[in-house]
């Protein structure tokens, strides 16, 4: 898959520009998520404040890229891989914007949590889960940047791990709340942060599905992982058996 090579140089530039903007937006969202997690884990009030105020830039990028995509559709009537690129971008930026929203939520709860007692008891669980989620997000953006469908399919299914982590954390929080009802308020905040992390993982998975659509031309949403692998990535399975 290549973006360039159009007879119209201007068209190349427009598509290249859209792609670069998405990568930039991805970078911004990833950094927002990372900083939000950092603020949460380190009870850093100032950092949390910065992240919570940073979501506006992400929203603006979504609007700008959306507009540019609409313009390309109207003026160029993209087809085939170009069409898939534009459609995938419109969807990817929706998920990116939502990831931005989740990061903002984590930052807002972190602000409240930072003022109160430290969340040391849940630190390791939260840290582990957030690393898992941030890696998924990073890898999915990487797959989009490289148009790497194999990489994308490798990330699908990892949200199962995240769900397990969320369950563990929830159990821990319940115990914590039962110990002392005064913990409930903060325990709920931590729980909402964990929920936001889980949502980020889901959005990262969606991005992977759009990468597969973009590269392979197949819509793999609401399809089982086994089916996707056997139908569109048969050689992966052979590798696995060897």
């Amino acid at each position: 898959m290549e973006i360039g090579q159009h007879i119209s140089q201007r068209y190349n530039e427009e598509l290249e520009d859209i792609r670069n903007q998405v990568l930039k937006m991805g970078g911004l969202v990833e950094s927002q998520a990372e900083q939000a997690v950092k603020a949460l884990l380190e009870s850093d009030f100032e950092l949390a404040k910065t992240v919570a105020n940073g979501d506006e830039a992400v929203n603006q990028m979504e609007i700008d890229i959306d507009e540019e995509c609409t313009r390309v559709i109207a003026r160029r009537q993209p087809t085939a891989s170009d069409l898939r690129l534009v459609v995938a971008v419109v969807k990817v930026i929706t998920d990116l914007e939502r990831i931005g929203d989740e990061a903002e939520k984590i930052a807002r709860y972190s602000k409240k949590l930072a003022k109160k007692q430290k969340i040391t008891t849940m630190h390791s669980e939260l840290s582990h889960m957030s690393q898992l989620v941030l890696t998924m997000l990073h890898d999915s953006l990487d797959a989009f940047a490289r148009l790497d469908a194999e990489g994308a399919v490798g990330i699908l299914g990892k949200d199962q791990q995240v769900n397990v982590e969320l369950d563990n954390l929830s159990r821990l929080l319940i115990t914590f709340m039962m110990e002392d009802p005064r913990n409930i308020k903060n325990a709920l905040r931590v729980s909402w942060c964990a929920r936001s992390l889980e949502r980020i993982a889901d959005h990262a998975q969606n991005i992977c599905e759009y990468v597969i659509y973009l590269v392979k031309g197949k819509d793999v949403r609401h399809t089982s992982l086994e089916h996707i692998r056997s139908k569109y990535f048969p050689y992966d399975i052979e590798d696995g058996e060897e």
Partner: protein, 303 residues
């Protein structure tokens, strides 16, 4: 030697296309690199060139203009009641192929067509086939509207008179009216039927030509860039008309407008340098084409 055998009508091809010596990447004399479109090889047609309910079929179609081969071994079915669009760059053979289907190439003395071509299973190049009767069954609409220098009425009635399709004046009147209605022109010209057809606007003239083609009750309509000389509104009218005609006729359209192919057709055939590269459902061709050359063409890339 190969050329001699290949130019003999009815002979099977001596050397299959796939084994043709590929062009070298670098020109031996000038040392220049050949254009990259040669780098992608065309080995047969990808997609689904054949269908179950074929109205017309071509097998192993070669067309020559004198020594020059214009079409190389095309196999293609045109399904019943479907609109098939043929697209490709200028000189790729799509119009030539369209003209094979109603023997319009017979009118070019140096043009020679080989292969098997059938309409409802009957050989259209057989000795018993009368090209005039064939063209009544397989009508044609051209790029430039070409009404006869006669009245609107006579333009539409011409074919019906030629083939004796109406036994009296009132039958002929009905036929002319019905054809003009089907072509979506009747309302605009019903009071001017005796005025010259050449006095109509371009879009109206083209619809008059479609009415003329419909009047002889064809089974297949071939359209060779029917809207390339028309404005977007006249184009939309004719595209709408094609969609209505599809329930009764089979339509093959050659078009340079990919958006038009995408809008009107159910299947799309992509021709490149005389070869049929890909035939697939139009939805597939425009969202996820199988062949790299198709992708390059419809996305507006260098070959």
């Amino acid at each position: 030697m190969t050329d001699v055998i290949n130019t003999m009508p009815g002979m099977p091809r001596a050397v299959p296309l796939e084994s043709e010596t590929p062009k070298p990447a670098v020109d031996a004399i000038t040392g220049e690199k050949h254009r990259s479109e040669f780098d992608v090889e065309i080995n047969g047609t990808v997609g689904k060139p054949l269908v179950d309910n074929a109205k017309m079929s071509s097998r192993n179609c070669d067309v020559f203009y004198g020594d020059k081969q214009a079409i190389f071994g095309v196999d293609l079915d045109i399904g019943n009641n479907e609109i098939i669009a043929m697209i490709g760059p200028s000189g790729c053979g799509k119009s030539t192929f369209l003209r094979v289907l109603n023997r319009m190439n017979d009118t070019i003395s140096i043009c020679r067509v080989t292969g098997e071509h059938t309409l409802d299973g009957e050989d259209i190049y057989g000795k018993k086939t009368d090209p005039v009767l064939l063209r009544a069954r397989v009508g044609m609409v051209f790029q430039k509207p070409n009404p006869f220098p006669k009245s609107i009425y006579d333009n539409v009635a011409y074919g019906a008179r030629l083939h004796g399709l109406a036994s009296n004046r009132s039958e002929l009147d009905d036929l002319v009216e019905a054809s003009l209605i089907k072509a979506g022109l009747f309302k605009e010209v019903k009071d001017d039927l005796q005025k010259p057809g050449t006095g109509l606007s371009g879009g109206q003239q083209q619809r008059l030509c479609i009415a003329r083609a419909i009047a002889v009750d064809p089974e297949v309509i071939l359209m060779d860039e029917p809207t390339s000389a028309l404005d977007p509104i006249a184009t939309a009218t004719i595209e709408e008309l094609m969609d209505e005609l599809r329930s009764n006729y089979t339509i093959a359209i050659v078009t340079h407008s990919m958006q038009q192919a995408a809008r009107v057709s159910q299947r799309t055939a992509y021709f490149h340098m005389g070869k049929l590269v890909e035939v697939n459902d139009t939805d597939k061709v425009f969202t996820n084409p199988e062949h790299q050359l198709t992708e390059n063409y419809i996305t507006g890339r260098f070959g």
